[in-house]
Symmetry: C2
Subunit: 192 residues, 2 copies
């Protein structure tokens, strides 16, 4: 039923948005057998600033390689959240880390303490992106946990295999808890 699923990770350098995009793409494409296009764009305007990784997953060959309307957004900064909020599908999910983004945009939002879960599971703030992938493996119908784990292990730096696995599990458990309630919170819109 889900023909096409579009994800964007967006943040600043060092937050691992590019790595998150690659792991999701390889989970769905190499390990999951779906059609996938993963894109990263840079421009002079984002120098030292924001970077975004976008992943389009589809059961059928992909004609247009960029997202049209996002099913899922992971914004690692307030600005990233503002910029993409208007690109969401009506029933899209924003995985919003309240420690990184305080102003909730219009649209469906799932509050997931990515950074806190990363620290609890691995002791590393920088694993918030991997926690997000764990959550996505339970929320996106076109990728499964086993494929995500395979892909993450394939890209984990030496010595961090187990930390990656724990981060995925933490994100997955949290998503499982809230899955029944998603979309569970809608910010007030101007019409409300």
């Amino acid at each position: 039923m889900t023909a096409r699923y579009e994800v964007r990770f967006s943040g600043t350098g060092g937050q691992g948005v590019v790595l998150a995009g690659i792991i999701l793409a390889e989970a769905a494409g190499l390990h999951g057998g779906q059609y996938v296009v993963q894109t990263v764009s840079y421009g002079p305007q984002v120098r030292g600033g924001m970077s975004s990784a976008e992943v389009v997953i589809s059961e059928r060959p992909i004609d247009y390689p960029k997202p049209i309307r996002l099913d899922l957004l992971v914004p690692f900064t307030q600005e990233a959240c503002h910029q993409a909020a208007g690109l969401m599908k009506e029933d899209g999910i924003i995985l919003l880390d309240p420690d990184l983004v305080s102003e909730t945009p219009e649209g469906w939002v799932a509050s997931v303490p990515l950074t806190r879960l990363a620290v609890e599971a691995t002791g590393r703030v920088q694993m918030a992106n991997i926690v997000a992938l764990g959550a996505i493996s339970r929320l996106c119908p076109l990728v499964d946990e086993a494929s995500m784990l395979d892909a993450a292990k394939g890209r984990a730096p030496k010595g961090l295999f187990e930390a990656f696995e724990r981060a995925l599990e933490a994100g997955g458990r949290f998503a499982e808890e809230i899955r029944g309630k998603i979309p569970f919170e809608k910010a007030p819109t101007p019409e409300d």
Copy 2:
């Protein structure tokens, strides 16, 4: 003068085509201030098989994010070379490693012993992709050596900074030697 430059790295898993695409994209985009779109595609047909990373670099904002005609191709397998040979610009360059690709396709080809240079410079076969980036930093007018080094260091696994640097230098030196002669070899075409 060069408005748009299109590169494809193509090979099988483990040859580092995705990493090469990311480093080139970050060299030109984050460090070089150009507009860049980097794309990786997967599909059921490439499962366990070929993967390609494509990078479009431009002085102006990029409308169409995928390559139209390749300026530069780095094929890490014979099949990758065959598939992409028809996508080359008339004056495009194929960085062909004679240890990986034996049949020379139609089009301009620069013979660069990527694997041998990688082993000589670093002792590692897997650094052929980084050697290719060193060559590209001298051949592509929209990216420079300093940006390539910055980007490579940003993505080098711990403990491999110096090996990455030596691999870049080896590729750069080789490209410098042959640059005056590129396009220096054209395979016979059916019309010849």
